[in-house]
């Protein structure tokens, strides 16, 4: 109790030092005056009385000093003194300090960069009150995987019945066109309920949010809220609000600007624009529209809904009330709500889905990535521990003197730790900059490949600064404590006599060598992991879906963005294909509705007529034109391609399937001529889409995604049957690709200068810009970077130890040379010594590396964790680096002259 009280009282006085000093001065002055009076009363002269008083008092300055020590926190004072001393020591050995700070900055930088991403994914606070929102989900408990989004009328009814939610918002995403030069750029837009911004509790950066009138179905008031980034691009022009903005083919008025980094209910997904529900029908692109319904259609379940519960309501209580609400909705609107139950669940930070999602994915990713970068920091710490040990040996005499003068061991350990801490904090500052820089670099390469814009802010926030500081303090303890304890246990007499360095080391394989062995082991692990990822990335670079990219061009058009309806759009596509096919140099041209290895895939269940679907996952569903297979280079194995008439007449129901689907559905029969159908979903009534189709052709399987190891099932139907907004024209050309690309561009513009072309590049370029490829490459780059860093650090470690050993053994080497050993023999002896260290490190590291590879193998693209190239190359590179790091000091050893060596004594 008393120590606590003393501490509190001391702490409180820390902040009142000056006033307390003045009080003490006054008290002492008073005391002295009284003493002087006393002495004068006894008959001394004023001057003598003053002298006598000072004598009695005994050192005013010393009293004040002791008093202040007692008053202040002696601990803090000492700490400040230690820090000053540490800075002086660091300045005295600038080379050593620079290397330590650099090594640490690299280690901490790697961690800080990694943590920037983890922070953005898991920890960075959401916009406004978004973290208080729960997702509202609708499903039929009797049917598995029956989660669906909500219709606008249902949302409006639930919002009106507010016994559960304080606030309820609805939103959906869509793609609109933004004219930019001769292509129509796609821009990612969120269509929201009018209370979206106010309910999330974010203030507008400028202008206003949406009004209830703008939300009303059919209102069609063309207003838009722009992102902060757009306003920034406009130079924060005060007249920005009120400007018009062309979206697809129509002008909208900007009425507001969203706050900076606003990402709705998520941490990442950042639309460029927000539109009110009232313009839904005129804006929303058909891919995202369910059943073709409008906003007022209760069967159009197109909207995500999230809400903030009434204060004091738990999730369970809310779900109980929602059950009642669901039953009411079912009674009122049985057709759309039969069997459907509403529930609330926490929202995911990173994705938007109609079913409840958790954030375990990003959490697992973080849990894998952080230890990997942590390993680099670990190596850095081992390295620095080693350097400190070497330096400590050099400082042994200084320390021995301090011990001899009565400096306690704990006091010296504290001093040494403070020195480590000062270096660590300097390293942390460097690491923070380095981390900021690398993550900004990584982000810059990510933004162009994302299908949706994201806010990933690389600027360090408090979390990152705290984490970095924690890394540094952890590092300081890790690399400072052991050396501090070790070098403060000196043999006092020997050290004072300066004999310490002259004694031949009894154990050659000492602490420092073991530290290097550990470094080698850990760097082998990181290099192997890095190597596996790089091999994967190299493979992913040249991967293809099942046909070659050479001479293949891609031109994607989205007539809907130019205001064309379905009939006009199909006519434009036909015209474009007709013109391209007769261009010189074109071998074949055809279009489909989704590009393999692209960001968007559509799939559907398919079955033999009247039966339920069998096996595996949903086959990919692609609409294609004639000649598509010819253009990409997939042979029709049996049967035929679609005919031109089948593209014009949607009542001619035909289909082409690929081998994987054929073997799944017709394992023992000839699939040609067989009938199949797309069964209706759940309880929905059958439509024309569910009419039977006849199989007319079989094609080879292809992969849709980089991650798929095997071709998966595909169903192809003529592009007439269901219409898809974006069509991808594949053009197979002979001759120069870039010239042909320019020619295709000219041809499309000549045909219709208003036709929105959303993508125009070679297939290889399209592949190179894939998001998944980016992830694989980024993983390869990051891990290789960590591996290279580890290698560099381990080499520095080996070099340090070997230099030290050579320096220590100078006398021994001198004697050997004097006795007739040749320089080559000396070098060989030193190299063998070094090789021992390397080999022990490799022997420990190799099994660990294989284990790490197996652990990471799920994330590695198409490379076995036992990849012989990587498993052979990584140790060889390490051996080479270690040999070089050993050779340099060994060469110095070779040149030791016996005379000099013996004179050292």
């Amino acid at each position: 109790m008393r120590p606590v009280r003393t501490l509190l009282s001391r702490l409180s006085t820390l902040f009142a030092a000056r006033r307390l000093d003045e009080e003490l001065d006054e008290e002492i002055r008073e005391h002295l005056d009284l003493l002087v009076e006393e002495h004068q009363r006894r008959g001394l002269t004023p001057a003598d009385a003053r002298a006598a008083a000072l004598r009695d008092f005994g050192g005013v300055a010393r009293t004040k000093e002791t008093y202040r020590d007692q008053r202040g926190l002696a601990f803090l004072d000492t700490f400040a003194r230690d820090v000053r001393y540490a800075i002086r020591m660091a300045k005295r050995a600038p080379g050593f300090s620079a290397v330590v700070i650099l090594v640490l900055a690299l280690g901490i930088g790697a961690n800080s960069a990694m943590f920037t991403f983890v922070n953005a994914l898991l920890f960075r606070p959401l916009s406004g009150r978004a973290s208080e929102f729960l997702g509202l989900y609708s499903h039929d408990p009797s049917i598995p995987n029956s989660y669906r989004n909500h219709s606008y009328p249902n949302f409006a009814d639930i919002r009106a019945r507010n016994d559960v939610f304080e606030e309820l918002i609805a939103y959906t995403f869509t793609i609109t066109g933004r004219p930019a030069g001769d292509v129509m750029q796609r821009s990612f837009v969120e269509v929201v309920s009018s209370n979206f911004f106010s309910a999330l509790g974010v203030g507008m950066a400028a202008g206003r949010g949406f009004t209830p009138e703008e939300e009303r179905p059919g209102a069609d008031i063309p207003v838009v809220i722009a992102s902060y980034a757009a306003w920034q691009q406009a130079g924060f022009d005060p007249s920005f609000v009120g400007r018009t903005l062309r979206i697809s083919v129509r002008d909208f008025t900007i009425v507001g600007v969203a706050p900076r980094n606003f990402a709705g209910t998520t941490a990442l997904v950042a639309p460029e624009l927000w539109l009110p529900f009232g313009v839904y029908e005129s804006v929303v692109n058909d891919i995202f529209k369910n059943n073709g319904g409008g906003l007022a259609d209760r069967s159009n379940r197109a909207f995500s809904v999230a809400g903030r519960l009434k204060p004091g309501l738990t999730i369970d209580q809310a779900n109980a009330r929602l059950a009642v609400l669901s039953a009411d909705l079912e009674r009122a609107f049985p057709a759309e709500n039969r069997g459907r139950v509403l529930t609330v669940h926490p929202l995911s930070r990173v994705n938007i889905s109609s079913s409840p999602q958790t954030d375990t994915g990003p959490a697992v990713l973080s849990a894998v990535l952080m230890p990997l970068s942590g390993a680099v920091l670990f190596i850095a710490c081992l390295n620095i521990a080693n350097m400190l040990l070497a330096r400590g040996t050099a400082r042994k005499k200084e320390l021995a003197i301090r011990v001899a003068l009565g400096g306690g061991r704990s006091r010296i350990v504290r001093q040494l730790l403070t020195e480590s801490l000062v270096l660590a904090l300097a390293g942390a500052a460097g690491g923070l900059l380095l981390g900021w820089w690398t993550s900004a670099l990584l982000l810059a390469s990510l933004v162009p490949v994302m299908p949706t814009p994201v806010v990933l802010d690389a600027r360090p926030d408090l979390n990152i600064v705290l984490a970095t500081t924690a890394f540094a303090i952890l590092g300081a303890l890790a690399f400072g404590l052991a050396p501090a304890l070790k070098i403060t246990r000196p043999d006092l007499v020997d050290d004072l006599k300066d004999l310490g360095a002259g004694r031949s080391p009894s154990r050659r394989f000492g602490t420092r060598a073991w530290l290097v062995v550990l470094q080698i082991a850990v760097s082998l692990m990181l290099m192997t992991a890095g190597g596996l990822f790089v091999r994967g990335a190299l493979r992913a670079n040249v991967a293809n879906p099942g046909y070659g990219y050479d001479g293949l061009l891609l031109a994607s058009i989205d007539p809907g963005l130019g205001g064309y309806d379905g009939v006009q759009a199909r006519a434009r596509l036909r015209a474009a294909l007709d013109r391209i096919r007769i261009m010189p140099g074109v071998i074949a041209a055809g279009a489909n509705s989704q590009v393999p290895f692209g960001d968007f895939h559509e799939s559907t269940w398919v079955a033999r007529l009247g039966q339920k679907p069998v096996g595996g996952r949903e086959p990919t569903f692609t609409t294609v034109t004639t000649d598509y297979f010819k253009a990409v280079g997939l042979p029709i194995l049996r049967g035929r391609d679609f005919a031109a008439e089948e593209l014009l007449d949607s009542t001619r129901r035909v289909a082409i399937i690929d081998e994987p689907l054929a073997s799944r559905m017709f394992p023992r029969e000839d699939p040609l001529g067989q009938q199949l159908w797309i069964p209706p979903r759940g309880d929905e009534a059958p439509t024309a889409e569910n009419d039977p189709m006849t199989i007319v052709g079989i094609v080879p399987g292809i992969r849709d995604d980089l991650t798929e190891r095997q071709p998966i099932a595909h169903l192809y139907v003529p592009a007439a049957t269901p219409y898809r907004g974006t069509m991808h024209i594949h053009v197979r050309v002979a001759g120069n690709e870039s010239e042909m690309l320019a020619a295709v561009r000219r041809e499309l513009r000549a045909m219709d200068s208003r036709l929105p072309v959303v993508e125009l590049r070679t297939m290889q370029e399209f592949h190179d810009r894939g998001l998944l490829l980016w992830v694989i490459r980024a993983a390869g780059r990051t891990l290789m970077g960590l591996g290279a860093l580890a290698l560099l650090l381990a080499a520095i470690g080996v070099y340090g130890v070997k230099s030290y050993v050579v320096a220590q053994r100078t006398r021994e080497i001198g004697i050997r040379v004097a006795l007739g050993a040749s320089p080559r023999e000396i070098a060989w002896m030193l190299l063998c010594d070094g090789a021992k260290m390397t080999l022990v490190g490799l022997a420990i590291g190799f099994p660990l590396a294989v284990a790490l590879g197996r652990f990471l193998s799920v994330a590695i693209f198409e490379v076995s964790p036992y990849d012989p190239v990587v498993l052979a190359l990584a140790p060889l590179v390490l051996i080479a680096a270690a040999a070089l790091a050993t050779y340099l000091p060994a060469r110095r050893g070779m040149r030791v002259s016996p005379l000099e060596a013996l004179r050292v004594e």
Partner: protein, 111 residues
Amino acid sequence: MTPPSDVPYGTLDLLVLKTLRTLGPLHGYGVARRIEQMARGILSLNQGTIYPALLRLEQQGLITSSWGTSDNNRRAKFYAITRAGEKHLSTESRQWARMTSLVNRLLEEDA
């Protein structure tokens, strides 16, 4: 005559507490004078050392201090013993008595 020795470590606190207990609230000068009078010829006391001791006791909550006016109308800081201080004084005095008697017994045996 042997020269006066320094105040044994830790006993100054006890002397201060005892003084305040006996005489009531006093300023630093008063405490120092009193101890000096009592100890004349036995202990040499640098009066300055009284101040860190007073502060230490205050930090431990054994005494309190307040600014007031001395007999001759000058501002002075007065120290007074607290209840915790009195309790501390009585335990410490008993402890002290036990220690000295033990030391005495040992010394006498030896003689």
